[in-house]
C-alpha cells in the first residue's frame, strides 16, 4: 500500500506548486525574523521545511474544498489561497487579520477560501473535518475536505475516532499527516512503534499512502488521487507525507533535542532548494527568481498593510460572541 507517487506534473502545476512553496516560505521567514527582532509580539510554530506538503495540498484542491489545519498550519493556509494580509494580520494581532486579531496565530479561519478550522488542540481537527465532509454530502456537493496534522496527532484518541467515523460513513476526507518526526521535543520513535504512519489506515480499512513530503509533486499526486476518490464516493484516505521541521517546535526553539547529524541530513533534503532547482530547469532561472521575488514583495507589503491597521479594541469582546447576547453575563 505504501507507494511513492510518480512525480510527473505539467509546468502549470509545477509553477503553482513552487509559487505556493515560495509564498509559504517567505511568510514563515518574515514572521520569524520579526519575532526575533521584537518587531512582532507574537508566537508561531514554524512550518519551515514543510512547504512542499502545503503546496501539494493547496494545488490539489479547489477553492471550495475545505481545509482543517493546526497551529503549525500557516503554510497550509497560505497555500490554500488565503490573502497574506489576513494571515499575517492575524498572527501579529491586527484588525486586518482573518479573524480581526481575536483568534491569534493558531486559530485562523477563512471560510471564503475553505479554511474552516485551525486548532491548537492536537487531534481535535480530525472529527471536525468529518463533520465538514458530512455537510458536503448532505448538501449534495462534491467538495472534499483535507484535514492535516502532525505525526504526534495520530496518537490521539480524536484521530482514531475521527478517521474511523469517516471510514464508516465513506466520507470525502483526505487525512494528510505531515510527519516531521517530532511532537514538540519528542521524537516519533518514542511515541509509536510502527515504521510508517500510513499503517494506521489498516485499522479502518481505508487506503494508506506514504509519500516524500519534500516533493511537492508527490504530495500533489497523492492528495489529488485521494481527493478524486473522495469526490467519487470512495471514502477517506490517509496520506503520510514524510518531511522535517527545520526550526523546531516554536519560533525561537533552541532545538537542543534534535541531533545535529539528523538536522544536517534533513537540510540536505530541504524541499525549497531542491524544488527550486527542478523548477529552474523547467521555467528558467529568470522566472524562478521572479517567483521568489514576487513572494518576498507580497509578504513585505502584506506586513506593511497589516501592521498599519489597528490593534483590536476592547469592543470586539462584545462582538461575535453569542449571536444573541440577551442575558449573557457582562
Amino acid at each position: 500500500m505504501a507507494v511513492t507517487a510518480p512525480p510527473t506534473v505539467g509546468s502549470d502545476v509545477a509553477r503553482t506548486l513552487y509559487t505556493k512553496m515560495a509564498l509559504a516560505y517567505a511568510v514563515d521567514e518574515r514572521l520569524r525574523k520579526g519575532i526575533g527582532t521584537g518587531e512582532f509580539q507574537t508566537v508561531i510554530w514554524p512550518s519551515r521545511g514543510q512547504e512542499a506538503v502545503a503546496a501539494g495540498i493547496g494545488a490539489a484542491l479547489r477553492r471550495d474544498d475545505r481545509l482543517v489545519t493546526t497551529y503549525r498550519g500557516l503554510h497550509d493556509i497560505v497555500a490554500k489561497g488565503v490573502p497574506l494580509v489576513e494571515v499575517i494580520g492575524e498572527v501579529i494581532g491586527r484588525t486586518a487579520g482573518a479573524c480581526g486579531g481575536k483568534g491569534g496565530s493558531m486559530h485562523i479561519a477563512a471560510p471564503d477560501y475553505g479554511v474552516m478550522l485551525d486548532t491548537g488542540i492536537v487531534g481535535a481537527g480530525v472529527p471536525v473535518a468529518v463533520g465538514l465532509a458530512l455537510a458536503a454530502r448532505q448538501e449534495g456537493s462534491d467538495r472534499v475536505t483535507v484535514c492535516t496534522f502532525g505525526d504526534g496527532a495520530t496518537n490521539t484518541g480524536s484521530f482514531h475516532e475521527g478517521v474511523n467515523l469517516a471510514a464508516v460513513w465513506r466520507l470525502p476526507v483526505v487525512f494528510v499527516c505531515q510527519n516531521n518526526r517530532y511532537a514538540e521535543m519528542t521524537p516519533i520513535a518514542d511515541t509509536m512503534n510502527i515504521d510508517g504512519v500510513w499503517k494506521r489506515a489498516l485499522a479502518f480499512d481505508i487506503p494508506g499512502v506514504r509519500v516524500d513530503g519534500n516533493d511537492p509533486e508527490a504530495v500533489y499526486a497523492a492528495v489529488s488521487e485521494a481527493a478524486e476518490r473522495g469526490r467519487g464516493g470512495g471514502g477517506p484516505t490517509l496520506v503520510e507525507a514524510v518531511t522535517y521541521r527545520f526550526k523546531g517546535h516554536f519560533a525561537g526553539d533552541p532545538m537542543k533535542y534534535m541531533p545535529k547529524d539528523e538536522r544536517a541530513e534533513a537540510e540536505a533534503n530541504d524541499p525549497m532548494p531542491a524544488y527550486r532547482a527542478r523548477i529552474s530547469d523547467l521555467l528558467g532561472t529568470a522566472e524562478t527568481d521572479a517567483i521568489d521575488q514576487r513572494a518576498a514583495t507580497a509578504v513585505e507589503s502584506a506586513v506593511k498593510e497589516a501592521a498599519a491597521t489597528d490593534l483590536p479594541d476592547p469592543t470586539v469582546l462584545d462582538r461575535d460572541f453569542y449571536a444573541d447576547m440577551k442575558g449573557i453575563p457582562a
Binding site: 482543517v68 487579520g97 482573518a98 479573524c99 480581526g100 486579531g101 481575536k102 483568534g103 491569534g104 486559530h107 485562523i108 479561519a109 477563512a110 471560510p111 474552516m116 478550522l117 486548532t119 488542540i121 481535535a124 480530525v126 472529527p127 471536525v128 473535518a129 468529518v130 463533520g131 465538514l132 465532509a133 458530512l134 455537510a135 458536503a136 448532505q138 448538501e139 484518541g157 480524536s158 475516532e161 475521527g162 474511523n164 467515523l165 464508516v168 460513513w169 470586539v316 462582538r319 461575535d320 460572541f321 453569542y322 449571536a323 444573541d324 440577551k326 442575558g327 449573557i328 453575563p329
Partner: protein
C-alpha cells in the same frame, strides 16, 4: 380558539422530546441527529427517539460508533457548514472524554474567528440519576457547561417546556447543551396542540407564593412542587421558580421573586459544592444585600460520588429536604438565636 380543537394535549416528557425532534427534522432539511443507538428499532437507548429514523431516514438520524469526541467533533464541523446537528451524548457522565469539542470548539469558534465561523449545534444529553446504577452513570454536570463562555445551557422539566425549549435550542443561533433527565421521561403534562417554541433564557414561575422562593430547574422542579404542596398544608406559601435555562440565567425573575418573598432556597441535582446554586446564591446575596429575611440556602446533591442501589435518596435532594430548608428559612430569626 375554535371550540372544536383542543388547545392542549397531554404527553410524557419522552414524547415531548420525540415531537420536538420530529418537527425540527420535518421543518428544516438541515437538521439531523447523530449518536449511539438512535435509529430504529432502538430509537435511542431509552426509546425516546422511536420512529424518527423510520420516518425521516437513516441519513437524518445517524447511528455512530462509540466515539463521543467524534460525535461532537463531527457536529461542530457540520454546524460550521450551516447544517443543524443535534448530537447526543447518551449519558451525561460520559462527557469527560469529549467535552473539549464543546468547550474549546463549539463554544469558542464564533468568538475566535471574529464571526467568520460559528457552530450552533444542540447537544442533547441526559442525567441518569435515579436508577441506582452507581457513581459513573448518575451525575448532573451542568455546572461544567455553565462555566464555559459561549454555550447556552437548557435544563427544562415539564413536557411543555421540554418540547418548546428543545425546538428553540435546535434553531437557536448559538450552541446549546440541552440536558434531559431519564427518570423524568415518563412524567406527563399538557403541551400546546400545535408546533411552538419556548424562549431560551426565561425562567418560569411554576407556582406563585409569598413566603419563600424555591429556585430550581430540571428534575428538581418536581421535588420543589411537591415540597410546596406539603408546605402549603402547613401554611407556608412557597413560590417555585423554574429556571429552565442556566445560561442565559434569568436573574430578573429570580431576584424579583426573592425580593418579594425575602427568602431563597436553591435546589438541584448537581453537586451542591461549586454547583449552579453557588452562582445563584452569590448573585442573590450581592444583589439583594440587606433585603433578605434569611440566608440563602442550597439543597444540592451531597459532596459524594453517587452510591449504587438504594442509597441515592441519601445523596440527592428531595421534596422533604427542600421543604425542611424552606421551613428553616421561614423560621430563621424567630427562634432563640439573635
Amino acid at each position: 380558539m375554535t371550540p372544536e380543537e383542543p388547545q392542549t394535549r397531554t404527553i410524557a416528557v419522552a414524547q415531548a422530546i420525540n415531537e420536538a425532534l420530529d418537527e425540527a427534522l420535518a421543518e428544516d432539511p438541515r437538521v439531523f441527529l447523530l449518536g449511539e443507538d438512535l435509529a430504529d428499532p432502538a430509537g435511542g437507548v431509552s426509546g425516546a427517539l422511536t420512529g424518527l429514523s423510520t420516518k425521516h431516514g437513516k441519513d437524518r438520524v445517524l447511528d455512530t460508533p462509540i466515539s463521543e469526541a467524534a460525535i461532537l467533533g463531527a457536529a461542530v464541523g457540520a454546524a460550521i457548514e450551516g447544517r443543524i446537528p443535534v448530537p447526543e451524548i447518551m449519558i451525561m457522565d460520559f462527557i469527560g472524554i469529549a467535552i473539549d469539542q464543546i468547550a474549546n470548539h463549539a463554544a469558542k469558534v464564533r468568538f475566535m474567528t471574529g464571526g467568520r465561523t460559528s457552530a450552533p449545534l444542540t447537544v442533547r444529553t441526559a442525567t441518569f440519576g435515579g436508577l441506582g446504577t452507581g457513581a459513573t452513570h448518575t451525575q448532573s454536570l451542568e455546572a461544567w457547561f455553565m462555566h464555559i463562555p459561549g454555550l447556552k445551557v437548557v435544563m427544562p422539566s415539564t413536557p411543555a417546556d421540554v418540547k418548546g425549549l428543545l425546538k428553540a435550542a435546535i434553531f437557536d443561533p448559538d450552541p446549546v447543551v440541552f440536558v434531559e433527565s431519564a427518570v423524568c421521561y415518563g412524567i406527563r403534562g399538557e403541551v400546546p396542540a400545535g408546533p411552538y417554541t419556548t424562549p431560551i433564557g426565561v425562567a418560569d414561575i411554576k407556582r406563585p407564593g409569598a413566603d419563600a422562593s424555591i429556585i430550581t430547574y430540571g428534575r428538581g422542579v418536581f421535588d420543589a412542587l411537591t415540597a410546596a404542596e406539603t408546605l402549603a398544608g402547613e401554611g407556608i406559601d412557597a413560590e417555585v421558580v423554574d429556571l429552565r435555562t442556566l445560561v442565559p440565567l434569568d436573574l430578573d425573575t429570580v431576584l424579583g421573586s426573592v425580593r418579594r418573598t425575602g427568602r431563597a432556597v436553591i435546589a438541584h441535582y448537581a453537586v451542591e459544592f461549586a454547583g449552579p446554586g453557588a452562582e445563584i446564591a452569590a448573585r442573590i446575596g450581592t444583589d439583594l444585600f440587606g433585603a433578605l429575611k434569611a440566608p440563602v440556602t442550597r439543597v444540592g446533591t451531597r459532596f459524594r460520588p453517587i452510591p449504587a442501589g438504594g442509597l441515592e435518596p441519601h445523596i440527592y435532594p428531595s421534596a422533604d429536604k427542600i421543604a425542611a430548608a424552606v421551613r428553616d428559612s421561614v423560621r430563621y430569626g424567630a427562634g432563640t438565636t439573635a
